[in-house]
């Protein structure tokens, strides 16, 4: 058994211990315990990454997958069985690093943020559960293992969103998150069934091998059988992507993500910004060879959905006033970037730039978005409100947070030399080479990104005077809250300098990333314009923004109402599913089916009541019947004897 399994087992242990005994016996120790286990996992991940990337990962100049742990968990048939194991390849190692690192930061941050919370131990046990599930997801060797941990991250996300369970909005949000992602998981499950049926295996390596080899009978079978004119392979891949889209909050399955901000802010940083929401991207990346080689049509769907979601979310983000919701929409937008980067990518070599860029963006985004959320957490902690209008002029009170937030905003806006620039740059390059329309939408979206991020930044830290009544008693927070912000701020600045293409590519062969400054000019210019607009509108206390908003009128309002997607969902679920399906089903059952059964009972009763009248208890009636009966029998006998 490889020591790698400890990466998974340690958080799991922490979950079990804090979950069962934390509340009673451990109390505040639960936080320390969880943090320690995550730290250990992080250390192991780092050593693994070092070993894999620099020591033994490469075979003949190419990174190959390793399977240090693999055991059969449940056998369906001799071919199909769920194996649980650990898969080590470039993206999983990268994800291990990201998950353990961000999780560690959030754990440390929560030590201060969640202090005094009644269910402190429960909180940490849920965090550990999430870390465990997410790690299990990224190292999955088997598509069913992915599904298992997929569901588990879903439920831990549900538990953490609904952590403040006495708040009705939190309960509703947690429910919504779970059900929407569950709906998407249905697609994932169906996709698994289709893919595994034709490939005859649930192992990623077999699925990829069998579906990318154009001569394999499996691929032939999957392509030749079709449903509604679309081949089974396309169905499978698109359905799997639907699962991924649900988790990654792609349009139209994104509705849960803004609401999910009801959870504690560190949770949002960990789950709804850095790790869980990129699971969909990771899933597509995991099956990327199949998409890219055998079914470009499905990949095109990924690209379109990605770029649309990205632009859509950026537009809405410009109008939101809840700090966390803005961040949520920006997350959605950035994940859209990653998705369409995958969508525009090819397999192997230079064509695989999009894939590399997507993973790179995933990596950098995790860092700066986690930072943004942690900063937002500090701000919320300080003013006890999520609304932008309650903030303003916080620069003096929160100097460190101010700097950190600024760095993160620069990173997300793609200003060189911050990390976001490098990853976004490559995404745009890949899009440019693949599809011009996607490229232009993406560039505009990038400009919008810097606009709404700096709108947020200025509204929080500059605009207006500091709200005195909100003068908080605890200043900028404990050192445990500040340290992660500082570390992440360094990360946001420096992560872009990593030669990512050397490590993570679609085919395992290193790729030299090159920055073409001529090409970069346009995005940088657009981003800077966005920042300037933000300065113009939001730096000082003025009503320019309101004037602009009123000019746009209905467009602004519909954007602010999130384009009425929630209302549509409400309509579909309440009106159609509840009123048109569930209620008739319940009625049908109560009246028709049960009524039918009851009618049988009633009929029997009526029949027996009728006959029971004969059972009158009257001796004369009985004897009369007796005589009549005897006579009848007599006649029958006589007739039979031919005497009559």
């Amino acid at each position: 058994m490889s020591p790698l399994i400890l990466i998974l087992l340690l958080p799991f242990l922490s979950f079990v211990i804090s979950g069962l005994w934390g509340r009673k016996y451990l109390k505040n120790l639960a936080g320390i315990l969880s943090t320690t286990t995550v730290l250990a996992s992080f250390v192991i991940s780092v050593t693994t990454a070092y070993r894999y990337f620099f020591v033994d990962g490469k075979v003949a100049g190419k990174f190959v997958a390793q399977y240090p742990v693999d055991f059969k968990w449940l056998e369906f048939t001799p071919d199909l069985s769920i194996h649980l194991g650990i898969l080590i390849d470039p993206i999983s190692v990268m994800m291990l690093l990201v998950v353990t690192f961000i999780s560690l930061m959030v754990h440390i941050y929560s030590l201060g943020y969640m202090k005094g919370e009644e269910r402190y131990a429960t909180y940490y046990s849920f965090l550990s559960l999430f870390t465990f599930s997410m790690l299990g997801l990224v190292v999955a060797t088997n598509i069913f293992q992915t599904y298992i941990f997929w569901e588990l991250v879903g439920v831990s996300s549900f538990l953490l969103i609904g952590f403040y369970y006495s708040k009705p909005s939190a309960v509703a949000a947690s429910k919504k998150a779970f059900i929407v992602t569950r709906f998407a998981d249905l697609g994932f499950l169906a996709g698994i069934l289709i893919l595994s049926y034709y490939s005859g295996s649930l192992e990623f390596k077999d699925i990829i091998a069998r579906y990318t080899d154009s001569s394999s009978p499996h691929l032939q079978a999957a392509i030749s059988s079709s449903f509604l004119g679309v081949s089974a392979l396309s169905w499978g891949l698109v359905l799997v992507f639907i699962g991924g889209a649900g988790k990654s909050a792609m349009f139209p399955l994104h509705v849960w993500l803004p609401d999910a901000m009801e959870g504690p802010t560190p949770v949002s940083a960990l789950i709804h910004a850095a790790t869980m929401v990129v699971a969909g991207v990771y899933l597509v990346a995991r099956l990327f060879p199949v998409y890219a080689i055998s079914c470009p049509a499905a990949l095109h769907v990924v690209a379109v959905v990605g770029v649309f979601s990205s632009a859509f979310a950026a537009l809405i983000a410009c109008t939101q006033t809840d700090i966390k919701r803005v961040l949520a929409y920006s997350t959605m937008s950035q994940i859209g970037f990653m998705m369409f980067a995958l969508g525009v990518s090819g397999y192997g070599g230079e064509a695989g730039l999009g894939y590399m860029a997507s993973m790179f963006h995933l990596f950098t985004h995790a860092i700066f978005k986690a930072l943004l959320f942690l900063c937002a957490g500090t701000v919320i902690h300080f003013v006890h409100s999520n609304e932008i209008k309650d903030m303003g002029g916080l620069k003096k009170s929160l100097p460190i947070t101010h700097i950190a937030f600024l760095l993160a905003c620069l990173a997300i806006s793609g200003i060189p030399p911050f990390s976001g620039f490098f990853s976004k740059e490559e995404i745009l390059t890949a899009a440019y080479h693949h599809d011009k329309l996607i490229f232009w939408v993406a560039v505009v979206t990038a400009g919008l990104t810097s606009f709404y991020m700096f709108r947020l930044f200025f509204s929080i830290f500059y605009r207006g005077e500091e709200n005195t009544h909100a003068q908080s008693h605890h200043g900028e927070g404990t050192s445990s809250m500040l340290a992660p912000q500082i570390i992440l701020a360094f990360g946001s600045v420096l992560a872009g300098l990593i030669p990512f293409g050397k490590f993570v590519t679609s085919d395992g062969v290193g790729l030299e990333a090159h920055t073409d400054w001529n090409f970069s000019l346009l995005p940088i210019a657009l981003s800077s314009t966005g920042i300037l607009f933000a300065i113009y509108f939001f730096m000082k206390d003025n009503d320019k923004a309101e004037v602009l908003a009123s000019k746009f009128g209905s467009v602004y309002i519909s954007l602010k109402r999130k384009l009425y997607i929630d209302e549509i969902y409400e309509f579909v679920t309440k009106r159609i599913i509840f009123n048109l399906i569930a209620q008739p089903a319940a009625w049908f059952d109560k009246n028709i089916v049960d009524g039918f059964i009851n009618t049988i009972g009633k009929a029997t009763q009526v029949f027996s009541l009728t006959t029971s009248v004969w059972q009158s208890g009257k001796v004369q009636a009985y004897s009369a019947w007796l005589l009549a009966g005897t006579l009848v029998v007599l006649i029958m006998c006589l007739y039979y004897l031919q005497l009559l």
Binding site: Q620, A624, L627, L631, L634, I635, L638, L643, L644
Partner: protein, 172 residues
């Protein structure tokens, strides 16, 4: 060839059937009992007509002297003897009448179709013969039934006393 004995048979038959019918239709219970008495007398006369003096005597003693008197006593004990009886529902009367007529019809038809082999040998109905047979233990003797009937009568007597004497709950 209508001699007196033939005529008397029909007269007796008509007598007993008429009074039987009146006994079951009379509106007052006491009269009903009296009509029953007449009908039983008619049956006794039928026995006389058949030269069965002993049986006729028993009929008169036990039925008329015993049972009918018993019935009359019980009527006195339980009823206003003059009061009219509760009347049965008409439909029930019709039903019963139909059933009876129908049953009579069937049996009568059946009897009419049966050829009985009649003999004219006279019966030995001497008291002496009856007495011997009643008490003899042999193959055609009736000692055993006789004893059984005596036990039955004893049991009936005891039973009557027990039933009649039993205390009614609530009354001393």
């Amino acid at each position: 060839m209508m001699d007196a004995s033939v005529i008397s048979f029909y007269v007796i038959s008509a007598f007993l059937l008429t009074f039987g019918l009146m006994a079951v239709t009379a509106k007052k219970i006491f009269r009903s009992a009296i009509w029953l008495l007449f009908s039983l007398v008619g049956i006794a006369s039928l026995y006389f007509w058949m030269d069965l003096q002993f049986l006729a005597a028993v009929q008169i003693i036990v039925y008329i002297g015993g049972i009918v008197v018993l019935i009359i006593f019980s009527i006195f004990l339980t009823q206003d003897s003059g009061s009219a009886l509760p009347r049965a529902i008409k439909s029930r009367k019709i039903g019963a009448a139909l059933l009876s007529v129908f049953g009579f019809g069937i049996i009568a038809t059946l009897l009419a179709r049966t050829a009985f082999v009649e003999t004219t040998t006279p019966m030995d109905v001497e008291m002496k013969t009856i007495g011997f047979k009643m008490l003899s233990l042999g193959g055609d003797g009736y000692a055993l039934p006789f004893e059984l009937v005596s036990i039955l009568l004893l049991a009936a007597m005891i039973g009557c006393i027990v039933i009649a004497v039993k205390n009614i709950p609530g009354k001393p």
